[in-house]
């Protein structure tokens, strides 16, 4: 039996490239799958640890009389037994003229029991970090990427004491990678000195919900409902997992292509072994053993490099998650034991699925069958029929799933969505070979008067069994690439549009609640202000939805948000659905009707024209839904009202104040500067109270760009590997193909002609594959944005098709095929005709 196994394996000594391809496929499948899994596992582990820190926002207190807060407020409230903590925020200018945010904290009173539990002994003789933080020479904590803003290399930053523009020196720097960029965190004593604020405070914070009501003379601002990182990060992980799944499928197709080739070339050998008395069952066992052996090597290599890939991507992924959702992810990769086991299981399982067809064929091997091309061709015809049937079944499954999904409420059917994508891809991949075969025979009939063309088509048809698996892998890789690429690109475009639409004002100001109305009146009177867009927000519960005479009782927590419809806002605010057109919707909003976000509309099945019953402090309020608007990235339901109506009917706290500047006057930056100075003088507002719209936009764009960069990198990697596999599969049979060209050469066809025929054959096949990938890719995009995204996020993305990307996909397919054909063609060009004839004779 060992001899038989060694005989089987000896095949790879003659064809090392096939072995390399097999291992490559397994390696890729394993590496991408397990790499992404590793990132997911590590990130999830980090959330669990960070959850306690992030589920609590901080409530804030403001003075009712509108005066700025002072250290005396802090002491008074502490002496009353309220656990408030002071914060001092401001901007410092570095010696190079750059602005950095300084945040001064008091670690001794900052809410969070866990923090104190880990703060260690505050003993001077045991100089812990806590003591070092709030005693001379103090510390400046900053993210490593902030160091260059201070004119320092990252390595040189720890311990450095850089000067500021005003000559003051910062306390010794300490790197804290998890801090946001351009932010310095110092003890409040240091902040008061650097910012020359004396006893002034920016805010008083307290643990969310720590106070039942505001103390006398103060106003309590509840922590804005923070995004639950679990919900949003999970959606990012879902994207990654989908990518990994696609990568696994591509890898397994490569494996099957290689296995198919390896078996086919060993058909003779297998028959000989059978003839020598090796039972069929033993042969199958041996082949399975071979699969297991290869699988183990490939999977282990894949998992190991997957872990490497994950740790290489992790800092980026961590940064993305952190900035996107505010979740802390350790930059150290932590892998649980089940990660290794799971990776091995998935890769091996996939391998046996891919190899089962091979085993099946080996088991039914006829001992006396002739290993002739024509006989094989007949077998291939059978296989094509089988594929066509399987493909039709897959297509029917896809249709059925799609039909079922159409009847399901939105937000469900995530698994079904993935099944739909999988079935679609399978159907298309299986259809590819019958399609190519049919196309070739059809073209062959057309080309009767061109013998060489006819030969080329017939020859390609003969190659098809071997090529088809590689082409299927290419098809899947191309369409997956196109699908995910379009989804991500579409998301990016939509997001950028949405940012432009939402951030319409030039400046955003967040005055303390007590000063809001005074600031608004003051700004209204200023010449450079063209329009004010005050917002407001409140929390409420959606109690019921009334549609016609029906009334549906609910208890859904919703956010109420107030906007000011005006000349600047209404033309750009996107609306998905309205009751009676855009203009009517805006008029209705001003008249007291409401808009709801897509999440709420999909989640509760609410259409424009229906009435909502919302809880408010002054009793239940009824509003009519005038329109539905998109609200990307928001996991909660939101009801939009005119600010004035919201403040009046729901006693909502004022939020930010959007300021639209007039077009006249000096350039934007100077006007912003002068306005913020005037505001600071008049209302004692810090410079940080005023936000430039461009800054906000730049920050959010930067955050999203990083996510997309990672997705694109993974995507490109998948495609590159599929291309490589096709190349390997073509190269593996190049030598054998050459023999068939010898008779043609002998008949007088030049080598140049022969080489170009080869290029045309493969180029054509690849082009057809690429063309098939385009509709499939678009179909996948539709599934991703309209099914999977809705199921995961609760909102639908608009479908964007990128002709450039489609062109690139086709070019990739063609390029890969031509490259794969060019190398053998080049060899052919250089081969002396005599060698060709010798090879022909040898067969």
């Amino acid at each position: 039996m060992l001899t038989a196994l060694l005989t089987l394996l000896s095949h790879y000594r003659r064809h090392p490239s096939q072995l390399a391809m097999l291992l490559l496929g397994l390696w890729v499948a394993g590496a991408l799958w397990s790499g992404v899994q590793a990132i997911n596992a590590s990130a999830r582990d980090s959330y669990a640890r960070a959850e306690a820190l992030f589920t609590t926002g901080l409530d804030r207190l403001e003075r009712r009389d509108g005066e700025p807060l002072d250290r005396a407020d802090f002491v008074t409230l502490r002496r009353q037994g309220l656990s408030v903590s002071p914060l001092l925020e401001g901007t410092v200018i570095t010696a190079r003229g750059e602005r950095l945010t300084v945040i001064g904290i008091d670690p001794l009173t900052l809410p969070g029991d866990s923090a104190f539990a880990t703060a260690g002994s505050p003993s001077t003789s045991n100089p812990g970090e806590l003591t070092a933080f709030f005693t001379p020479p103090w510390q400046t904590r900053l993210a490593p990427d902030t160091a260059p803003r201070l004119g320092l290399e990252r390595q040189a930053a720890p311990g450095a004491e850089p000067s500021l523009a005003d000559g003051q020196r910062l306390p010794p720097l300490v790197l804290a990678p998890a801090l946001p960029p351009d932010t310095l965190v110092v003890d409040i004593a240091v902040a008061a000195r650097l910012l020359e604020r004396g006893t002034a405070l920016s805010r008083l914070v307290t643990a969310a919900g720590a106070l039942d009501s505001a103390p006398e003379g103060y106003r309590l601002g509840r922590a804005a409902t923070l995004v639950d990182p679990g919900e949003l990060t999970a959606s990012f992980h879902l994207n990654l997992t989908a990518m990994a799944l696609l990568a696994l499928i591509v890898g397994l197709f490569i494996v099957q292509a290689a296995l198919g080739l390896a078996l086919e070339q060993r058909l003779g050998l297998l028959r000989t072994l059978r003839a020598l008395g090796v039972p069929g069952r033993t042969l199958v066992t041996l082949l399975a053993l071979e699969l297991a052996l290869l699988g183990l090597i490939g999977a282990l290599a894949g998992i190991a490099s997957g872990a490497w890939l994950a740790s290489a991507l992790l800092p980026d992924v961590a940064a993305t998650l952190q900035s996107l959702y505010g979740a802390a992810v350790g930059t150290q990769l932590r892998l649980p034991w089940h990660y290794w086991l799971g990776g091995l299981g998935v890769t091996l399982g996939g391998l046996f699925v891919a190899g089962s067809g091979i085993l099946w064929r080996a088991a039914r091997l006829g001992v006396l069958g002739l290993g002739q091309a024509q006989a094989w061709r007949a077998g291939f015809q059978r296989q094509l029929r089988g594929q066509a049937i399987a493909s039709t079944l897959a297509a029917l499954l896809a249709l059925a799933v799609w039909a079922w999904l159409a009847t399901q409420p939105a937000g469900e059917g995530l698994v079904a969505g993935f099944v739909l994508v999988g079935a679609m891809m399978l159907a298309c991949a299986l259809w590819l070979s019958p399609l190519l075969a049919a196309g070739l025979s059809g073209l062959g009939r057309l080309a009767r008067s061109h013998p060489l063309t006819q030969w080329a088509l017939a020859d390609l048809q003969l190659q098809l069994p071997r090529l088809s698996l590689a082409l299927m892998a290419l098809l899947i890789a191309l369409s997956a690439n196109l699908g995910v690429g379009s989804m991500v690109g579409g998301f990016r475009l939509t997001f950028l549009d949405w940012l432009d639409q939402r951030l319409t004002a030039d400046l955003y100001l967040r005055p303390p609640a007590g000063q809001f109305d005074a600031v608004q009146t003051w700004l209204d009177a200023r010449d450079e202000v063209a329009e004010l867009l005050p917002t407001a927000d409140a929390e409420s519960t959606l109690l019921a939805v009334q549609a016609g005479g029906e009334r549906q009782r609910l208890a859904v927590p919703v956010t109420l948000f107030g906007i000011t419809p005006g000349a600047r806002l209404t033309p750009t605010w996107p609306l998905l659905e309205t009751r009676a057109g855009r203009d009517a919707a805006w008029t209705a909003l001003e008249a007291g009707e409401a808009f709801i976000n897509e999440q709420l509309a999909l989640g509760q099945d609410i259409a424009p024209g229906e009435r909502l019953v919302l809880r408010s402090p002054g009793g239940d309020q009824r509003v009519t839904v005038a329109a539905i608007y998109p609200d990307y990235g928001n996991p909660r339901g939101e009801v939009l009202l005119a600010t004035a109506a919201l403040r009046e009917r729901f006693s909502a706290a004022p939020g930010s104040l959007g300021i639209v500047l007039t077009d006249a006057g000096p350039p934007g930056e100077r006007r912003v500067e002068s306005l913020s100075r005037a505001l600071a003088t008049r209302f004692a507002l810090g410079r940080d109270a005023l936000r430039d719209q461009r800054e906000v936009k730049a920050l959010s764009t930067e955050i999203f760009e990083r996510t997309f960069a990672i997705t694109r990198a993974l995507n490109a990697l998948t495609l590159a590997v599929a291309a490589l596999a096709l190349l390997a599969s073509l190269l593996a049979q190049a030598r054998e193909r050459r023999r068939r060209l010898a008779p043609l050469w002998a008949l007088g066809v030049t080598r140049g002609r022969l080489a170009s025929i080869q290029l045309a054959q493969l180029g054509g096949a690849a082009l057809i594959t690429g063309l098939a990938a385009v509709p499939l890719g678009i179909a996948i995009t539709v599934c991703l944005v309209a099914v999977i995204n809705v199921a995961a996020f609760g909102w639908r993305l608009p479908l964007h098709v990128f002709p450039g990307e489609i062109g690139l996909t086709l070019a990739t397919a063609l390029g890969v095929a031509l490259l794969a054909a060019a190398l053998p063609a080049l060899t052919l060009w250089r081969t002396p005709p005599r060698t060709l004839l010798a090879e022909e004779e040898a067969t």
């Binding site: 900052l110 969070g112 104190f116 260690g120 002994s121 806590l130 933080f133 923070l226 906000v696």
Partner: protein, 387 residues
């Protein structure tokens, strides 16, 4: 974009706390610096020494040039149904720099001094603990202007709304002879705390050599005073339920710059109210190189006359241990004073009195029995550190 703007400060704070200030987690003090670093060299601080003249009311206030100081109150109480309760309240002051190294212009947020307050209420198996912190400057505090501090006249010690205040109007009386103690905190949303009136029935007591209490063979020590004669009445709240209580309390005042010898690991400290009106303070400092454990104490008559207990005048022997918070501690002791013909058993009725605070230790009520007959002889408090 509201969301993007709101997460920033929160993420930032959490990050600072999680990554930055957590740096000394699990960082045990070097073995040669005693419990909580109290045996570390105290260069630059004033040293407690024999012959230090005490002046009142000034010395009821803080001594910022010494490194460490505390106002330490324990009370053995009973509610109306006769059920025993224990109460602790402590305000610690710890200087962060020697006087010469303090920044001249430290500003309103100066942190030369770290204030730490602990409170505990215990009854049966229940032991509720809370801890708070504050920063402070080195001058005497002003109750209106500072989060924590102590003033000598009128006497007032506080951190947030946890206060120990003198009720004395008459300037002839010692400020500590009548006090009001108030503190509350929460455990799982249910408030616990106390508001107690304390009235001394005897004078302030000076331990050791006119207040200088030696703590190791090579001369380290502290200034150590007590007011052990309080009668208490007031209200204790536990799990949100108020109950009227009466009992006895003991206040310790101590300041020093190097409390322990470098090799001393911790202490076992007794403050006992005996039924016959005597008070007994005794401690054992463990380790300390060649001399071995260092024992000392004070025998206090009902009139407040104090006899220092040195060398062979005092013997402390652990009789039984309990496992609390993963540590093995002696919770049953034999305490002998041969010169006073006293042989006592001191036992903690409930072992679970671990103070899981930043600096953690065991602090709980004890019952006193005659060692031979087992007859009840009094009550008190036991503190054990460095286990």
């Amino acid at each position: 974009m509201r969301r993007a703007l709101t997460w920033l400060p929160v993420a930032l704070l959490a990050t600072v706390l999680a990554t930055g200030l957590a740096g000394c987690e699990g960082e045990a003090p070097p073995a040669s610096q005693g419990f909580a670093g109290l045996g570390a060299e105290a260069g630059g601080f004033r040293q407690a020494s024999p012959g230090t003249q005490l002046r009142f009311p000034e010395d009821h206030g803080p001594h910022p040039d010494y490194r460490l100081e505390w106002w330490y109150l324990t009370a053995n109480l009973e509610d109306e149904s006769g059920e025993p309760l224990g109460v602790q309240w402590t305000l610690f002051r710890q200087a962060q720099q020697p006087p010469a190294e303090r920044p001249e212009t430290s500003g309103p947020w100066a942190a030369d001094q770290l204030w730490m307050a602990h409170m505990a209420v215990s009854q049966g198996e229940t032991h509720r603990v809370a801890e708070r912190f504050a920063r402070g400057g080195s001058r005497e505090s002003d109750p209106v202007r500072d989060q924590a501090g102590v003033t000598a006249a009128p006497f007032r010690a506080w951190l947030d709304d946890w206060t120990l205040t003198s009720r004395v109007d008459d300037s002839d009386l010692d400020a500590l002879s009548q006090l009001e103690l108030a503190a509350t905190a929460e455990h799982d949303g249910a408030p616990f705390g106390y508001r107690l009136s304390l009235d001394a029935e005897g004078p302030l007591v000076r331990h050791g050599e006119n207040g200088f209490s030696q703590k190791s063979a090579d001369g380290q020590g502290s200034i150590y005073l007590s007011q052990p004669f309080y009668r208490v009445s007031g209200e204790v709240t536990l799990d949100g339920e108020p109950r009227w209580v009466t009992g006895r309390a003991w206040l310790d005042r101590e300041w020093s710059s190097q409390l322990l010898g470098p090799d001393q690991a911790g202490w076992d400290w007794f403050s006992l109210h005996l039924a016959d009106g005597h008070r007994l303070m005794a401690f054992r400092l463990r380790g300390g190189g060649e001399g071995g454990d260092y024992l000392s104490g004070s025998w206090i008559t009902p009139e407040g006359e104090t006899t220092p207990l040195e060398d062979d005048a005092l013997a402390l022997t652990p009789l039984a241990t309990s496992t609390v918070a993963g540590r093995t501690l002696p919770t049953r002791w034999r305490l002998r004073l041969p010169d006073h013909d006293l042989d006592l058993t001191v036992e903690a009725p409930h072992a679970d009195r671990w103070m899981a605070t930043t600096v953690s230790y065991w602090e709980g009520e004890v019952n006193v029995f005659d060692h031979a007959s087992g007859a009840p002889r009094g009550r008190g408090y036991l503190e054990m550190t460095g286990y």
